[in-house]
Symmetry: C2
Subunit: 433 residues, 2 copies
C-alpha cells in the first residue's frame, strides 16, 4: 500500500473475542439472543469497553448508550473518522452480525498502532445502541438519534412488550435522561464532528461466497420499510360457528402475507424483497376461530419508488381483504426510510485498501439495514463486506471464516488510515473528504 | 307433565353461581381462562363440590379428576342416569360454555328434590376433566378415559408446554396415580353402570336465537378432527436473502390455512367447518424470514366421510406446498373421531320435557365437540341446548339469559326424572332404556 503500513492482525484472536461476546446471550450458544439494555446487553457492553480500553481508546458514552472509543489524532480540530456497528442480536441469531463491526475495528486500530501509524484525524470506534428493532419495534435507534432523525414524540410511542419506554430502559441501564427530548439533544452529532463513517460487516447474502470474491465494497444501502397490520373479527367456536357467519382475522392475515410475496415478485426486480416476519393470532387455540391477528411486514429495495409501490400495493390488499372478509383493520407504518448512496471518497479509500491487500473485491449493494443508512444522512459513509457461509445471518449457524475476518479487519484498518490521514502528512487524505 | 312434577328453579340464582365460578380465572372477568389442574381449576372444583354437597349429593372423584355427585335412587342395583359437562375454559373464554352443564344439573336435582320427586335409578351430576384441549393438546380427556377410548401410550405423548404429563399434573392436583395405565383402569366406567347420559349446554351457534326457538334437542354430534402441521425452512435475513433463495415456512403455513377454508367451502355443505385456530411462526421477528411454522387445524362435519375427505384434501395441500416451497414438513393427527348419534330414548325424554314446559323446541345437530361424544360410545346419550347471544362462545362476551337458563334447567330436570323413573314406579322409564 502507498503509505507502507505493515499490518499484523490475527483472525483467530478476533474470532475468539466474537465467541466470547456471544456468551452474553439469553439463549444457549451457538444461538445468540441479546436484547438492548437487558442484562446480557449490559455484560456485552462491559466486555466491549474492556477491549477498547486495552487498545488504548478513550471511552465516551452518549445518553442513548452509543459507545465511542477514541484514538486521538494529531489534528484536534478536525472531524473524526468513525467506524462501528452494533452488538444487539435478535432472538436466536448468531455471533457475527454487527459484532464483527464492533470487535473488528478495535483489532484494526490496535494493528495500526502496532504498525507505527499515527492518525491525523481522530478515529472513533463506535458501538451503536439497538440496531435491531426487537425491543422497541424500531431499528437503528442509536444512529437515528445521532443523525437527528428521531423525534421525542415517536420515541414516546415505542414501548416494549412490558410497556417500558426507551427513556425508562436506557435510564435503568445507566444512560438515558429525564425525557426523550433531553436524550435526543444529548445524542445528536454536531455538524462537522464526523468526517467519514465506515462499517465492517458480514454480507448477510450469498453473493461473495458464491463468486469466491473476498471483499465487498458497498455502493448503496437498500431502502427499508416496515408495516404493522392488525385485523380483528368476532371469533367464535371452531365447531359451532358455521362458515358463512365467520370473519376470521387469521385468514385475512394469511392472505396479506401471501400478497406481500406476490407484490414483490410482480416487480420482477431481484433487488426487491418483502417478508412477513411476525405473524400472531389470538386467542390462538385449535378450537377457536381467530379473533385477532397482527403482522409485521418488512419491504426493501434499492429503488425507493419501486419499494414505495410495493408498500402501496400491500396497503391496498389490506383494505380489500378487510372489506371482503368483514374484519376490522389498522395499519401502522413503523418506518419507511430512504436508501443511502455511499460516498465516493469512502468507496475509493476502501477500494485502495482492498487492492493493497491483493485479493479479489467487488462493488455491491447492501440489502440489509444498517446504522450506515442513518450515518449517511450526515457524513460521507461506506461499508466493507466479507463473505459469510451460505449467505446466512440472523441464525445460530451464522459463520464467517477467520481468514475472511482477518482480511476484513486489515481492509478496514487501511481504509481508516487513508481516511484519517497520517500525522506526518498534514495535507493528506482529510482534505479530500 | 305426566308425572306432575312442579319445579321451582331460579335462573338468576344459577347465573349468580356461574358468575361466581367465573371468578376462578387466570384473566380478569368477563374473560375466563381456566386450564385443567391449575390453581383456578382447583378452586373451581372446590366450589362445584360445595354446591354438590349443599344439594345433598354424595361426592366421588376418579383418578382422572372427573367429579360425580350422586343422588341415590330407590333401586340400588340399576345403572345411573348421568348428567354433566366441564368447567375448564380456553384462554379468554366466557362464563357459560360447559359450566352451565355442571351448575345447572345441581339446580335441577335440588328442584326435583324440593318438588318431592324421588328417583328410582340413581342420578349422577358429573364434572368432566379437561374437555378443552388447551393444556395437553387433546380434548375430552375425562370422558375418553371413562369410555375406555384412551391408551396409556397416547397419554404418555401428550405433554403440556412445560413438558408435564397428565399423570404428573393430575397427581399434583390430588388425583392421578402411579402411571397412566393405573389412572385409566381406575377411570373406565363398568358396563351397565351408566343407564343414560344427558348434557345441558349453550348452543354455541346462532340458530336458536335467530329462529326464536327456546330449546334445542340434539340428535347428533359432529365428528371432529384436529391436525397439527409443522413446516421448517432455512430462515435468513429479511433484507439480505433474495426472494429466489427463500423457503419461507410462514408462507407455506399461510397457504395451508387458506386451503383449509377452501376445502371446506368446496363441499358446499353447511355442516362442514374448518378452522386454523393456532398459527405460530419462528423466530417471529420483523426482519427474519420465518424458519418455522406450526398450525393446529380443526375440521368437523356430521358426515364422517365428508369430514375425512376434507382432512385428506388438507394433507394433500400440505405435501404440495412443502414440495413447491422447498420446506420440510411434518403432520400429526391429534384426533379424528367418529360422530355420535343420540339415543332415541333420551331424545324422547327431552322432547317430552320440552313439551311439558310449553315453549318452542327443535331437533338439531351439535357442531361443537362435547364429552357427550364419548359418553355416547357406551351409554344412550343426548343433549339439551339453550340459545346464546349471537351464537358466540369461547369469548368473554359469551352470554345466555337467565330466562333461557331457567328453562334449560327445568327441561333437564324433567328429562332426568323421566329417564331415572320415580321411586314409586318400579316398572317405569328405566326398562325402556
Amino acid at each position: 500500500m502507498g503509505n507502507g503500513i505493515k499490518l499484523d492482525v490475527s483472525g483467530e484472536e478476533v474470532v475468539a473475542q466474537l465467541l466470547h461476546l456471544a456468551t452474553f446471550s439469553d439463549d444457549p450458544n451457538p444461538a445468540v439472543t441479546r436484547i438492548v439494555f437487558t442484562k446480557n446487553d449490559l455484560l456485552a457492553r462491559g466486555y466491549v469497553k474492556e477491549l477498547m480500553a486495552a487498545a488504548g481508546l478513550k471511552i465516551r458514552e452518549d445518553p442513548m448508550g452509543n459507545i465511542f472509543g477514541r484514538w486521538e489524532g494529531s489534528n484536534v480540530s478536525t472531524g473524526a473518522v468513525v467506524t462501528g456497528s452494533h452488538a444487539d442480536a435478535i432472538p436466536l441469531a448468531g455471533a457475527y452480525d454487527g459484532t464483527l463491526g464492533v470487535i473488528g475495528p478495535i483489532a484494526a486500530v490496535a494493528a495500526l498502532r502496532r504498525a507505527g501509524f499515527r492518525p491525523r484525524a481522530p478515529i472513533d470506534v463506535l458501538m451503536f445502541t439497538s440496531e435491531e428493532p426487537t425491543r422497541f419495534g424500531l431499528g437503528c435507534i442509536g444512529s437515528r438519534g445521532m443523525a437527528g432523525e428521531l423525534t421525542a414524540a415517536l420515541l414516546d410511542e415505542k414501548l416494549d412488550v412490558n410497556g417500558t419506554s426507551f427513556q425508562a430502559a436506557s435510564t435503568a441501564a445507566g444512560y438515558g435522561g429525564a425525557s426523550h427530548q433531553e436524550i435526543l439533544e444529548g445524542t445528536r452529532i454536531k455538524e462537522g464532528a464526523v468526517a467519514a463513517f465506515v462499517e465492517l460487516h458480514i454480507e448477510q447474502g450469498p453473493l461473495l461466497e458464491k463468486e469466491g470474491t473476498q471483499l465487498g465494497i458497498v455502493t448503496a444501502i437498500a431502502a427499508p420499510a416496515a408495516l404493522r397490520v392488525f385485523f380483528s373479527g368476532d371469533g367464535g367456536h371452531a365447531g359451532a360457528l358455521l362458515m358463512p357467519y365467520r370473519n376470521d382475522a387469521g385468514l385475512a392475515a394469511a392472505e396479506v402475507a401471501l400478497a406481500v410475496e406476490a407484490a414483490v415478485l410482480k416487480t420482477g426486480a431481484i433487488d426487491a424483497v418483502g417478508t412477513t416476519g411476525l405473524f400472531e393470532i389470538g386467542p390462538n387455540t385449535v378450537n377457536s376461530v381467530p379473533r385477532e391477528a397482527k403482522l409485521e411486514i418488512d419491504i426493501r429495495d434499492i429503488n425507493k419508488d419501486r419499494r414505495d409501490a410495493i408498500v402501496a400495493s400491500v396497503l391496498k390488499t389490506v383494505e380489500e381483504v378487510a372489506k371482503r372478509r368483514k374484519v376490522r383493520h389498522r395499519v401502522e407504518i413503523i418506518n419507511q426510510d430512504a436508501p443511502a448512496i455511499c460516498s465516493d471518497k469512502v468507496i475509493a479509500a476502501a477500494t485502495e485498501a482492498a487492492e493493497a491487500l491483493g485479493g479479489s473485491h467487488k462493488r455491491m449493494v447492501s440489502r440489509a439495514y444498517h446504522d450506515s443508512l442513518f450515518m449517511a444522512r450526515f457524513a460521507p459513509t461506506g461499508m466493507i463486506f466479507i463473505p459469510c457461509r451460505g449467505g446466512w445471518s440472523h441464525r445460530p449457524d451464522e459463520f464467517a471464516s477467520p481468514a475472511d475476518i482477518e482480511r476484513g479487519v486489515k481492509a478496514l484498518a487501511l481504509t481508516l488510515a487513508k481516511l484519517a490521514g497520517s500525522a506526518g502528512d498534514e495535507t493528506g487524505a482529510h482534505t479530500e473528504l
